[in-house]
C-alpha cells in the first residue's frame, strides 16, 4: 500500500511549519535516511529524513508553502512494484489521530494534590513499670543503627569518617568494631558521588544509611537525593524501590558561619517521594531512625548537632520503633499552640514555662516528621487553643511555618482568634559574629513574644 509522508512535528512545541524546499523530486528512488526536504519550525530549519524506502510518487505540498499543519500529508511514497493507481486507496483514508482517548478523562480535582494519609497510628504504649534509661541523643542514634544492622544484614552505613574515626560527631562510635569494614564504610570526601553510589546500592537490593557530615554538604548531593532517589519509583511506574536513609546534623551549629549553618527541612519537605524526619529527643531519635531504616522509601533524617550531647530518657524496651508521620504533643495546654520541630522543641518548652509564669497555658506540638505533616494533630490542637505560633530555625520564606500557617488557615479558619504568627531565622545568611548570630537565630524569647502577640497581650 502506498505510504503517506506526513508533515512532521520537529520540536516539542511545533504545530505548523514552512515546507521550505524539497530536496527530492517525483520519480526519485528513496532510501531510508535520505534527506527529503527542509522544514522551518518555530525554532530552526530542520532536514526531514526518509523512514521508508520506495519511489516518491507524488508531492502534495509544494516547496515554499507556509503554515503547513503537523500531520498533513505532504507526499506519497510507493513501494517496489506498486502502481500509481493504488493511490485512490489513500483518498478516503482517515488522517491519523494524534492520540487515543484517555482511559479516564474525568480527573477530579481531588487527584491533583497528594492525599495526606489519615494517620491512625500512635506511639506504642510503654508497659507500666518499664525502666526509663537516660541516653544521649548521640548514643540513641548509634543504638538505632546498631540494632537495625544486627536485625538485617542488608543495612550498612557509609559516609565520611564514619568508620575508623568513629564519626565526625561520634554518632557511629563502636559500629566498625561490631560490624566490620564491609558494613561501616569510610568514603572519600565526595558527597555527590557517594550519595549516588548509595542510591545505586539501594536500587541493587541493599538498605544503605548514608551519613552526611552535615546536611550543608548534602547540597552537593541533592541531585541524587531528589532526582535519583525520590522520583524513580514514580518514573518506573512502581517497579523500582529505593530504601535508603540520608542522615546527619542539620541547621545551625555554633559560630561556624553561613555555609555550615542552615536548616534544610523546608528544602526536602517540598519533594514528593521523600519522607523527611526531624526529631528532637533521644527516644524520638532512636524510635524514628529505626523506623526510617526499615521504611522502603528514601528518608531524609535531619539531626541537630547542638543536641547530640543532651540526655533524655529512652524506654528500656526490646524494639523501640515510632511511627513516621505522627506529631507528638510534648506539653498540653489550652491557650496557644506552638508548632515546632528539632532543637526548637527545647526552646518552645522553655518558652512555655515562661508563658505559664505569665498565666498563658501553651500547648507544644513537636512535628517530628516534616513530610508527611501530621496536620490532624496540629488542627486538633488549634481547634482547642484557637491560636497558632510556628517556630523553626530555617528562614521563614517558603518555610515549614509558612506551610503550617497556610494549612491551619485553610483547615481551621473559623477557629482562629488571631492571625498565625511565625518565628524563624532572620532573612540573612547566618553571621559569624557572636552577637549577630544570636540576633539572627530564634530563641525562647522570640517564641514568648509571638505567643503573647497572638493572645493580644504583646
Amino acid at each position: 500500500m502506498p505510504t503517506q509522508i506526513l508533515m512532521p512535528a520537529l520540536s516539542p512545541t511545533m504545530e505548523e511549519g514552512t515546507l521550505a524546499k524539497w530536496l527530492v523530486k517525483e520519480g526519485d528512488t528513496i532510501s531510508s535516511g535520505d534527506v527529503l526536504a527542509e522544514i522551518e519550525t518555530d525554532k530552526a530549519t530542520m532536514e526531514v529524513e526518509a523512514v521508508d524506502e520506495g519511489v516518491l510518487a507524488k508531492i502534495l505540498i509544494d516547496g515554499g508553502s507556509e503554515n503547513v499543519a503537523v500531520n498533513t500529508p505532504i507526499a506519497i511514497l510507493l513501494e517496489e512494484g506498486e502502481e500509481m493507481g493504488d493511490l485512490s486507496a489513500l483518498e478516503s483514508a482517515p488522517a491519523p489521530s494524534p492520540a487515543a482517548e484517555p482511559a479516564e478523562a474525568d480527573a477530579s480535582p481531588d487527584t491533583q494534590t497528594e492525599v495526606a494519609p489519615t494517620i491512625t497510628v500512635s506511639d506504642p504504649a510503654i508497659p507500666e513499670g518499664t525502666a526509663m534509661v537516660p541516653v544521649t541523643v548521640r548514643d540513641a542514634l548509634r543504638d538505632a543503627m546498631a540494632e537495625e544492622m544486627r536485625a538485617d544484614d542488608k543495612v550498612f552505613l557509609m559516609g565520611e569518617e564514619v568508620a575508623e574515626y568513629q564519626g565526625a560527631y561520634k554518632v557511629s562510635r563502636g559500629l566498625l568494631e561490631e560490624f566490620g569494614p564491609k558494613r561501616v564504610i569510610d568514603t572519600p570526601i565526595t558527597e555527590y558521588g557517594f550519595a549516588g553510589l548509595g542510591v545505586g546500592a539501594a536500587f541493587g537490593g541493599l538498605k544503605p544509611i548514608v551519613e552526611f557530615m552535615t546536611f550543608n554538604f548534602a547540597m552537593q548531593a541533592m541531585d541524587h537525593i531528589i532526582n535519583s532517589a525520590a522520583k524513580t519509583r514514580y518514573m518506573s511506574g512502581g517497579q523500582m524501590s529505593c530504601p535508603i536513609v540520608f542522615r546527619g546534623p542539620n541547621a545551625a551549629a555554633s559560630r561556624v558561619g553561613a555555609q555550615h549553618s542552615q536548616d534544610y527541612a523546608p528544602w526536602y519537605g517540598h519533594v514528593p517521594g521523600l519522607l523527611v524526619i526531624a526529631p528532637y529527643d533521644s527516644a524520638d531519635c532512636k524510635g524514628l531512625l529505626k523506623a526510617a531504616i526499615r521504611n522502603p522509601n528514601p528518608v531524609v533524617f535531619l539531626e541537630h548537632e547542638l543536641v547530640y550531647g543532651e540526655t533524655f530518657d529512652v524506654p528500656d524496651v526490646d524494639d523501640w520503633v515510632l511511627p513516621i508521620g505522627k506529631a507528638r504533643i510534648v506539653r498540653p495546654g489550652e491557650d496557644v499552640t506552638i508548632v515546632t520541630y528539632s532543637r526548637m522543641v527545647g526552646y518552645a518548652l522553655q518558652a512555655a514555662e515562661k508563658l505559664a509564669a505569665e498565666g498563658i497555658d501553651a500547648e507544644v506540638v513537636d512535628l517530628r516528621t516534616i513530610r508527611p505533616l501530621d496536620m490532624e494533630t496540629v488542627l486538633n490542637s488549634v481547634k482547642k487553643t484557637n491560636r497558632l505560633v510556628t517556630a523553626e530555625e530555617s528562614w521563614g520564606c517558603m518555610g515549614v511555618g509558612a506551610e503550617i500557617a497556610a494549612a491551619v488557615t485553610i483547615g481551621a479558619f473559623d477557629y482562629l482568634d488571631a492571625p498565625p504568627a511565625r518565628v524563624h531565622q532572620v532573612e540573612a545568611p547566618l553571621a559569624y559574629a557572636g552577637n549577630l548570630e544570636a540576633m539572627a537565630l530564634p530563641g525562647p524569647d522570640d517564641i514568648v513574644k509571638a505567643a503573647k502577640g497572638v493572645c493580644y497581650l504583646g
Partner: protein
C-alpha cells in the same frame, strides 16, 4: 587502537579486513538485533513527527554495535544502566518493543505505565536500571549497583554507559575513584559519539582520548571501534572478565557516531551532512555485519530481506500497540509516589 569511524577503511558491502572470530548464528543474531534497534528508532522518529511521541526523544541510530556487542559480552544477572539515549539498551536486554514504544507514547502499556517517558524506563526483571535524565547521574548509580553486587557476592557486573558529554561531569570521577578504591565490579562504557549535544569533543575536552580518563585512578582503559560489533564484543568480554574476577573497574571508550540530531528537535547544524553521509556510507555498523554474512555466505540477500521484513513487522506491531494502548487512568496520577510501609 581503533580508527576513527569516519576514516575506517571498510566501504559499503565489503567485509572488514581483520576478520574476528564469529559464527553464523552469532552474526545473524547481531544483524537481527541491530536492525531491530534501527527500525525501532526510525519508527520512534516517525511517531514523534506525527505528534504521538512528545517531549525529549534521543535516538540511538548509528550506535547499535555498542550495545549489541556489550550484550554479547555479559551473562544473566549483569546489569545495564545508561542515560537518556536508552532505547537500544532496553531492546538489547530483551525488553518488549511494545512496552518500550508504548512508554514513548505515554500510554498505560509502557514499562513505566506512561509515567516515565523516553528517558525514564526500567525493568528490574531484565536487569535494566534506567533510563536517567540527568547527564552523568547514572555513573555513581551504576557504581552503586556494583557495590551491591560486591556486598551480596552475587558475581554480577554492572555495565554503566555514558557519553562523551557526561565524561566531563565531576561525579564521573568521584565514581571512578570509589569504584577503583573498593574494587567494584563495574565496566564504564563511554559511548563517544563525538558530539555532546552540539559541542564536538574537541571543543569540550582537554583530553579527547577518553579511555585515558581513568589513568590517575589506576583504572585500565581501552579504545574500541564502536562501529564494529565484534570488536565491541571482544573488548567487552575482556572488561567484564576483569571486573568479575575482582580486579575492579575498567573503562571502554567506544568510538561511535550518531546519525540523528542530539534529540528530535536538534537540526544538527554543528556538523556537515557530508560528515554524516561519510559514516553512513563507509562505516555503518549494520553494513559491517551484513557484509560479513554475505562474504561468508551465511545468508544471501533474500534471506536478509526476510529478517528485515520480520523486524519491520515487530516494529510495526510495537507502533500499533503504542497507539492503541490507552493513556494512564487519572487514578494513576497519585500512585507510586511512596511505597506502602512494610509491616
Amino acid at each position: 587502537m581503533a580508527k576513527s569511524p569516519s576514516k575506517a577503511a571498510a566501504s559499503k558491502a565489503a567485509a572488514p579486513k581483520n576478520l574476528k572470530k564469529t559464527t553464523k548464528a552469532e552474526m545473524l543474531e547481531f544483524y537481527q538485533l541491530m536492525l531491530l534497534i534501527r527500525r525501532f528508532e526510525e519508527k520512534a522518529g516517525q511517531l514523534y513527527g506525527m505528534g504521538l511521541i512528545a517531549g525529549f526523544c534521543h535516538l540511538y541510530i548509528g550506535q547499535e554495535a555498542v550495545v549489541a556487542g556489550m550484550k554479547a559480552a555479559i551473562k544473566d544477572g549483569d546489569q545495564m544502566i545508561t542515560g537518556y539515549r536508552d532505547h537500544g539498551h532496553m531492546l538489547a536486554l530483551g525488553m518488549e518493543p511494545t512496552g518500550v514504544m508504548a512508554e514513548l507514547t505515554g500510554r498505560i502499556g509502557g514499562y513505566s505505565r506512561g509515567k516515565g517517558g523516553s528517558m525514564h524506563m526500567f525493568s528490574v526483571e531484565k536487569n535494566f536500571y534506567g533510563g536517567h535524565g540527568i547527564v552523568g547521574a547514572q555513573v555513581p548509580l551504576g557504581a552503586g549497583l556494583a557495590l551491591a553486587n560486591d556486598y551480596l557476592g552475587n558475581g554480577s557486573v554492572s555495565l554503566t554507559f555514558f557519553g562523551d558529554g557526561a565524561a566531563n561531569q565531576g561525579q564521573v570521577y568521584e565514581s571512578f575513584n570509589m569504584a577503583k578504591l573498593w574494587g567494584l565490579p563495574v565496566v564504564f562504557v563511554i559511548e563517544n559519539n563525538q558530539y555532546a549535544m552540539g559541542t564536538s569533543i574537541e571543543r569540550a575536552s582537554s583530553e579527547t582520548q577518553l579511555y585515558k580518563r581513568g589513568i590517575s585512578f589506576g583504572i585500565p582503559g581501552e579504545q574500541v571501534d564502536g562501529m564494529d560489533v565484534l570488536a565491541v564484543r571482544e573488548a567487552g568480554l575482556r572488561a567484564v572478565k576483569h571486573a568479575r574476577s575482582g580486579k575492579g573497574p575498567m573503562i571502554l571508550e567506544m568510538k561511535t557516531y550518531r546519525y540523528r540530531g542530539h534529540s528530535m528537535s536538534d537540526p544538527a547544524k554543528y556538523r556537515t551532512r557530508e560528515e554524516v553521509n561519510d559514516v553512513r556510507q563507509h562505516n555503518d555498523p549494520i553494513d559491517y555485519v551484513k557484509a560479513r554474512i554475505i562474504d561468508e555466505k551465511w545468508a544471501d540477500d533474500a534471506a536478509l530481506k526476510e529478517i528485515d521484513k520480520e523486524v519491520r513487522a515487530i516494529v510495526s506491531d510495537a507502533a500499533d500497540y503504542a497507539r492503541e494502548s490507552p493513556e494512564p487512568p487519572a487514578s494513576d496520577l497519585m500512585t507510586d509516589i511512596l511505597a506502602p510501609e512494610v509491616a
